[in-house]
């Protein structure tokens, strides 16, 4: 096991491609493995994995591309996901459980249940979302260890 010192951080960065369902979850799995290696508590890893996976899936489902950055500090993990996509017209509506704009073929795979953003909020200690129509969406999540 590797132990992070107080002033250390690990930065992981992943390029995400829209519609790449074959690669879905790989970035989140890599983040999870690093967290396991530095000995973060299992329940905390679970919250980080859910947050990052949901954000990763949103890029793959809705955007043309995006970048996910995970900054892992001794006491917290910060995940920022920035995409180039359609943007969200009504963020309050998008945050409601069950609301989704995912296309039918994605729903048939079991995505698009409208639980992505609510899951991210529930699993994060801090959550922020910014979106511009026609440009894209940025999500920032902080999960304390």
């Amino acid at each position: 096991m590797i132990k992070l010192k107080d002033n250390q951080k690990i930065l992981l960065e992943f390029n995400l491609a829209g519609s790449a369902f074959d690669l879905a979850g790989e970035a989140s799995s890599k983040i999870k493995r690093v967290l396991q290696q530095i000995g973060v508590a299992t329940e905390v890893i679970r919250r980080i994995a859910i947050s990052s996976y949901e954000a990763e899936m949103n890029v793959i489902i809705h955007a043309c591309c995006g970048v996910m950055r995970a900054e892992i500090y001794p006491n917290r993990t910060e995940i920022q996901v920035e995409d180039q996509g359609p943007g969200i017209a009504d963020i309050a509506l998008a945050m409601q459980e069950g609301f989704s704009t995912a296309p039918d073929f994605v729903r048939e795979m079991g995505f698009g249940a409208g639980m992505g953003l609510p899951n991210m909020v529930r699993c994060s200690d801090q959550f922020d979302i910014q979106s511009q129509i026609g440009k894209g969406t940025t999500v920032l999540m902080v999960i304390n260890h």
Partner: protein
């Protein structure tokens, strides 16, 4: 319950290459909606689904699910089995419906 016991008690088939008889399951979850699985299933659960595509392996891995039962006679994609092998997740298939599988699991004490 150890998975080898499950195999004796249920009409299930090991679908992939990865199999460890000592894997145990505690409790279970049934859904085809992946975000609900992410949010509500617990590590160590057996997951019953009718999805056979490869994203179920990623979801199971992130949640800490070690055994997936694909119900209703659905066969997993080749990519699903490859990913599941990499992630050391056991995939079982059965002709039983999801309803029947869950009922049988419950009767076996997996609640």
């Amino acid at each position: 319950m150890r998975i080898e016991e499950l195999l004796k008690q249920l009409p299930v088939t090991v679908a992939g290459d990865y199999f460890d008889p000592a894997v145990t399951v505690a409790g279970g979850y049934v859904s085809d909606l992946l975000s609900h699985v992410m949010g509500q299933a617990k590590a160590g659960n057996v997951w019953v689904t009718m999805q056979g595509h490869q994203n179920i392996a990623a979801v199971a891995s992130l949640v800490g699910i070690a055994v997936i039962i694909i119900a209703g006679g659905i066969q997993p994609d080749t990519e699903t089995l490859q990913k599941a092998d990499q992630e050391r997740i056991v995939i079982l298939t059965t002709k039983l419906t999801a309803y029947e599988v869950v009922g049988r699991l419950y009767q076996l004490g997996i609640c």
